[in-house]
């Protein structure tokens, strides 16, 4: 439905987008994931029309919308700071887009009530937005963007200003609502947990380029580049051939999910650090080759490991992931 074709953008001399391509299918939720400054928000704003592109194209159902004015695109947009109109009530906020479309009062009221119910805020119509909690404001912002039935919903770090527990709950609800309505959505975040929870596909961005695009499980399980692995917190990156483990390419990732304690394992070393995580220990060992490896050990299966303890581990072959060098011009983490 949405096609982004080789979009570039620079602010002055600083390139922000170096030519990105992306397809978003009808009803799919695509997440742009990356560190600050990678260009994800700029790309979102170009799609919305709030920013112009230096070159490239944005197509909706095959037609270019690059020069189409913002207010005619029929998209929805949610910001991190909610951006609710402070001088309007909840109801007036929600029906704003409907008013712009010229809907009559009765139809507006009905639709607004419907959407407020969808987000779980029935009865909040006459409230003053300044008196709402963070989570409630976020729901109003969502209702407001859903009310006019947009063709595409864009979300720019919508959960960024909420606390962790609320975030976890809301991200699941968000996905549920989006799927229920059948919307196509483009979601921007730097938080991988949010990304995993919400996305059908993740587009991992770095310094203005896509490093990897794929389903969350795929991206997590098989990162393709050094940047991708490091961004996801998978740091067991070793030169190919270490520990006698052959791999294609120059570097490989020894995926922590595949490392387990093994008396007969090929990799030996001593425990350098052991952090209690509640349900597991995150253990870092210094291998005999001098390279640190990090992996998790289920708490209910093992006693706490002592620093300095000698240990052996092994890794299943399918968890040895070959990595490409990070894309040219990209920043290192």
């Amino acid at each position: 439905m949405l096609t982004i074709k080789h979009v570039t953008r620079a602010f002055g001399k600083q390139p922000v987008l170096r030519g990105v391509d992306l397809e978003v299918g009808q009803g799919g939720i695509v997440c742009l994931l990356g560190p600050s400054g990678c260009g994800k928000t700029t790309l979102l704003r170009i799609v919305a029309g709030l920013e112009r592109a230096d070159s490239g194209d944005v197509l909706l159902d095959g037609h270019s919308i690059l020069t189409q004015p913002v207010h005619t695109r029929d998209f929805g947009l949610m910001f991190q700071d909610f951006a609710l109109f402070p001088h309007l009530t909840v109801l007036q906020n929600v029906e704003f887009g409907l008013r712009m479309k010229g809907m009559d009062k009765a139809a507006r009221r009905a639709r607004s009530r419907e959407v407020l119910e969808l987000v779980g805020l029935s009865g909040f119509e006459t409230r003053d937005v300044a008196q709402l909690s963070g989570g409630e404001q976020q729901r109003v912002a969502l209702a407001r963007s859903l009310a006019p039935n947009p063709r595409l919903l864009m979300l720019d770090e919508p959960l960024g200003s909420l606390d962790a527990a609320l975030k976890e709950r809301l991200v699941v609800e968000l996905r549920e609502i989006i799927k229920r309505v059948g919307l196509t959505a483009l979601y921007v975040t730097h938080d991988q947990h949010e990304a995993f929870a919400i996305a059908d596909r993740i587009a991992l961005m770095n310094a203005g380029q896509f490093e990897q695009v794929g389903a969350p499980a795929e991206v997590y399980r098989k990162p393709e580049t050094v940047f991708a692995a490091r961004f996801l917190g998978l740091n067991n990156i070793v030169p190919s051939g270490t520990f006698g483990i052959a791999g294609e390419g120059r570097e490989v990732l020894l995926h922590p999910d595949g490392i387990s304690l093994d008396e007969t394992g090929k990799i030996s070393g001593t425990i350098r650090e052991s952090v209690f995580l509640g349900d597991a220990f995150r253990v870092t060992m210094e291998t005999s080759a001098g390279i640190p490896l990090t992996f998790k050990v289920a708490a209910r299966k093992h006693e706490e490991m002592q620093v300095g303890e000698a240990v052996r581990v092994s890794i299943a072959e399918e968890y040895v992931i070959p990595l490409k060098a990070t894309a040219k011009n990209a920043a290192t983490l």
Binding site: A48, D81, F96, M100
Partner: protein, 575 residues
Amino acid sequence: MDRDRSPLSQHRVGARLPLAGHVPAPFFASFKWLLVALPLLFLAGFFFYPLISIFGVSLAPEGQLDLSGFAEVITSPYYRDTLGFTVWQAALSTLLTLALALPGAYVFARFSFPGKSLLLSLATLPFVLPTVVVAAAFSALIGQNGVLNEGLMRLFGLSAPPIQLERTLTIILIVHVFYNYAIALRIISSYWANQSQRLEEVARVLGANGWRVWWEVRLPLLRPALLAAAVLVFIFTFTSFGVVLILGGPRFATLEVEIYRQATALFNLQVAAALSLVQVGLMFVLMIVYTGLQRQTRGALQSTRAVTRTPQTGREHTFVIANVGLMVILLLTPLAALALRSFTGDEGLTTSFYALLDSNPRGSVLFVPPIEAVGNSLRYALATTVLAVLLGMASAYLLNRRGARWLDAIFMLPLATSAVTLGFGFIIALDEPPLNLRTSAALIPLAHTLVAMPFVVRSVLPALRAISPSTRGAAQVLGASSFNVWRLIDLSLISRGLIVGATFAFTVSMGEFGASVFVVRPDAPTMPVVIFRLLGQPGTANYGQALAMSTILMAVCAVSFLLIERARTLGIGEF
């Protein structure tokens, strides 16, 4: 070591270490009564006493309650018309100023371009220029013999000057816009700049086109700032004196001008006092409205600093250039015309008008060469600066104590009272013992100090408030006596505020007109008064001298102003 005689014994560390909340006695503690008394005594003697005298003259001139003067003022159609005109011209001026300043405010809030901060500083210059200078500048620009008329006549071969704006309402309005444009622009644009751009972006995504964004989002959210700017400009134009007096001519009179005429030309003191009462009452109401609005604009929105950007599209470029052009034309050409005309004689460029300032053409014994007014102004300004700084500093210390909000309002009152009222109050109150100062030259610096003191307070108080008691405590523990604590800590931390306040006081005194016309001694006039007189006399020599002196005064004010602005951008003071 004998514990009682060691240098540290007076600061027995264990007993008097500054704890959180414990304020070591500052230097002025021993002079506490003096601290409180001086500024309050000053205000009581030179502000409240004259003000009460005005009440007295209007309501009980012969000692008994006699409301006839008051009644005459309220019922007479002539005075009602005067009040009506005052309100009418103020309302028109306000509307015009806001209409022009609003797009300018948008430019400053959203865009960045080269020379932006310089332009903003220059645009605020008119506000500190004396009214006589501005009157002279506009007459030099669009008067009968002004630059524009001369240029147009030459260009099109006309025999009569095409622009006839002298003594019309139009010129009064134009000058009011000149004065207040920058104030309105600053209030609106700083409020605007703190508004999140996201709101506009959301509105656009939701389907609002250009003008709907204005109507639905921008303007409603700007309302507090628009109202605050409107009320402030209304207050300033309502109390407009010099502009209406000089440029409006005999046909136009606002309340202030009427007070002046009744008191000095017609000697109708009771009526003048009654008019003053009405003026003070209305001003009081307006100030309350304004401070109420100001409170609203402070905390209204989440202050996300909007990012300014350079104009991108052709439309944006045109918009920015048009507004910058308007500012330059409106605000800078009159000043340029003034300077130019002061050097232009019948045969081209000349400095003869400046030379004339020092001369006594008719050799009259009683005549005072205008150049002496420069010396007078400087002397008065210096006296004012010293007085204002001392009293202002004492007041700031007084106000720095907790629970002094009502005191704060009292100290700001002179700022809210018009200069004409102050001057008028002086001449009717201070002509009898115990304060018989009517012929004293001291009246001028006293009047100027009343006007200048609030500026000093407003510049010093924030710096004072920022000094944490533990800084003083630390100095004390290290062995500094009270005086040294004050000298090394307080003084150095408030020194910038003092300098800004002093510069304000100096500039205010140099340009003060409204009170000065009442209390100045004929043989020792100030520059504004001399300019006023010269403008009122016929002949090119007198006119040229008025322009020359105005240019000098303008230069002095401009330099002081730029100094203040530089200090302000370093974050000093509350304005």
